[in-house]
């Protein structure tokens, strides 16, 4: 009987702390059993590959949301840096220069966001909505509104080579989760971000340089979106001005699924990883089941609603 009680306690502890991971695990098992071809190596790799862009940016979105801010500009940034890398690679013939230009282009967007929010004191939601429009426009101007095909085949290696039979972008994603996980959990920066999100005034009075941290968060976010844009361009062998429309909401949804608080102050890397994978799993399964795209939107929205409702229930019970 004692055992039973213990088991119950453990379950409650797990549910309180890792509810989303448990939901993910249950979903995964159920889908493995009932959906044909779901649990195959090929499909698993495809699943992760499909969330590389979302996942890379979710890393830094976790910091932005954790500090109590939003960033709606990441979709445009991905397209901007993708076109930038294409244009630079084509005009200079230098792949590395192109990659650096692409990442820096993203960093620039982030820096503008960070400066506006921290120094000018503008609302992050509106600021990043504005830069979203500005840089989508810049992308169209830079590309002339057409996809920019890249002529250097060496550039495609970044997104299309394999190591140990696993595509490079998947490795990059895994490494990024580790780096940002450590940054969040094991550095002063990570803890300061959550403190700022938890209570900005208290953080400032406790000696945290709020403005510097905010600029850092947004700039990191920009760099990461730029990097994701470069990888996407490599995989698509071109810079697409229409790429990643609405990506920011997918990224935020993944973070929220992972238990990141929109009010700030609460974020875990394990949650974000699970959130990203749940997003990927839903699309993957709907594709495997041949559900039409139009319906996929509906299902994804519903899953998001249900997930945050479960999370709310949990918060109420504790």
């Amino acid at each position: 009987m004692d055992n039973k009680k213990n088991a119950k306690m453990t379950f409650k502890y797990l549910y309180d702390h890792y509810s989303m991971i448990m939901i993910f695990a249950v979903m995964f098992i159920v889908l493995s059993i009932f959906v044909p071809y779901f649990l195959t190596m090929r499909n698993m790799i495809g699943l992760v590959l499909s969330v590389v862009t979302i996942g890379l940016i979710a890393n830094t979105m976790m910091f932005a949301l954790g500090s109590g801010d939003f960033d709606l500009s990441v979709g445009s940034t991905v397209a901007f840096s993708g076109v930038m890398v294409a244009v630079i690679v084509n005009s200079t013939g230098n792949v590395w220069l192109g990659i650096i230009a692409g990442i820096l282009a993203g960093g620039l967007v982030g820096l503008i966001n960070g400066f506006s929010v921290a120094v000018l004191g503008l609302n992050a939601l509106i600021t990043t909505l504005a830069t979203q429009m500005i840089f989508r426009g810049m992308t169209f101007i830079l590309s002339g509104g057409r996809a920019v095909g890249i002529r250097e085949a060496a550039f495609f290696k970044l997104g299309n080579s394999r190591f140990l039979d696993i595509p490079a972008p998947v490795w990059i994603l895994i490494i990024s989760f580790i780096i940002f996980g450590v940054l969040l959990n094991n550095t002063v920066f990570g803890k300061n971000v959550l403190a700022i999100g938890g209570n900005t005034s208290a953080a400032r009075l406790a000696g945290i340089n709020v403005n510097f941290n905010k600029i850092t968060i947004f700039t990191l976010q920009g760099f990461m979106a730029g990097f994701a844009g470069v990888i996407l361009a490599s995989r698509m062998t071109s810079g697409q001005p229409n790429a990643a429309q609405g990506l920011e909401l997918d990224v935020i949804a993944a973070c929220v699924l992972g238990g990141v608080s929109l009010a700030g102050g609460i974020a875990t890397i394990s949650g974000v990883i699970v959130g990203v994978l749940i997003m990927g799993m839903i699309s993957n399964v709907l594709n495997l089941l041949n559900v039409a795209t139009f319906y996929q939107y509906v299902v994804r929205g519903l899953v998001l609603l249900i997930a945050i409702y479960l999370d709310k229930l949990k918060q109420h019970s504790s």
């Binding site: 403190a195 005034s201 208290a202 009075l205 406790a206 000696g207 945290i208 340089n209 608080s261 102050g265």
Partner: protein, 496 residues
Amino acid sequence: MSDYLQFKKISKNFPGVKALDSVSFTVEKNSIHGLVGENGAGKSTLLHILSGAYKSSGGEIIINDNKKDFISTRDSLDSGIAVIYQELNLVPEMTVAENLLIGQFPQKNGFIKQDKLMEKAREQINILMEDFNPDTKVKNLSIGQRQMIEIGKALLHNADIIAFDEPTSSLSEKEIKHLFKIIKNLKKQGKAIIYVSHRLEEIFKLCDSCTVFRDGKHIETFKNMNEVTDDILVKKMVGREIKDIYGYEPRPKGKTFFQVKNIYGSGLSKKVSFKIKKGEVVGFFGLVGAGRSELFKLIYGDVEAQAGELKVNDEVIHNSSPREAIKNGICLLPEERKDEGIIGVRSVSENINISSRRHMLKANFFLNKNKERKTALKFIDDLDIKTPSTTQLIKYLSGGNQQKVILSRWLSENIEVFLMDEPTKGIDVGAKYEIYKIIYQLAEKGKAIAFVSSELPEVMGVADRIIVMRNGGIVGSLNREEATEEKLLSMALPTS
């Protein structure tokens, strides 16, 4: 017509806690009944049950010989009960009139009748003996005036029973006087009033009878306030004898350590200078709005000073931000603990280590979690912080324990000058006593301490020297021995 409102064996269980354990007492008409007890004694829980916000786990409320069972706050309002909470529920962007009559706008087919609205609001403002315009937006009013609007809202429902939950915690002396006048008026009109407060002197000033709660239990009801003394009440509240809650003992002071020269900036009306010796505790007394909090924030670098010089140990320092101030060995305990002190959603350990963790990094970059945990455990032990673990979210701790966590934050840094803004605000008697002890210990160690307090007995009981502020400037300084209530008040009150 006695025993108008009766609480009979009221209990309230929360998971794992008995917040109220079979409490019974009665409140009469034409009287003000004080309700005292430490935080967590069950006062607020009782008010929540009275207002219908909580459902009791047992017992009954009887009003005028009718048994009442409230299923909602609406239900309670309709039975003539108004509970005025500490947190104000006003809409800052709406006008006084709109706030007063919210939920019961005079209307015709969904359109608000403006003239009627204004008329009703004016009536209410007159009753409250206030003189603000019903057209003013609430955000432009002082906290005291906002409190009045909250009371006005309650009166509009024609309540016969009015309960006040710590109404004076953020009011100035003048506003408190005004509030008391209104409460006494209500009593004259035959209302039954319940008055919850931490401040015992208010209970004595205002109440006809009072009840003491401790740990969810009814300890005693005093029918006549003349039968009781301060000491008895404290003893009943705390459950043990605290002879002298301030526990002050003289201690040797060192040389002048911290100097503020001609500082000036937002919130001050003239240049301000003062000095603190090593081991000295200086109290800053004044009315709300005298510029004490503003002065501390200027010194701390949270608000940029326009002029002035700071010296620690004869060395000139510049606090351009709180971060710089901390590096210079100065810290601030902010007045609004919840809004400016704690990071509610983070753990006790993280709240303690938020600043000092930079001194214990591994490879200059990675957190030393083991050391952070040990630091947290040390302070939990040293300051007797009541928390189930280092990972408990700080928002679940009581006010006194939260304040101890914030103190720990600075004790783990290299701090020499402590600025404390209302360090015992909203903290119960037992915890206050412990905070005072920590202040004395710091002084013993040679730290310089400045604290703001609006409670006269506290300033006089704890400080070695008292600096009085008025209208954004310092008006004088009294040593502990020379300070009397009359002197301090006459210095603090505006001359008109």
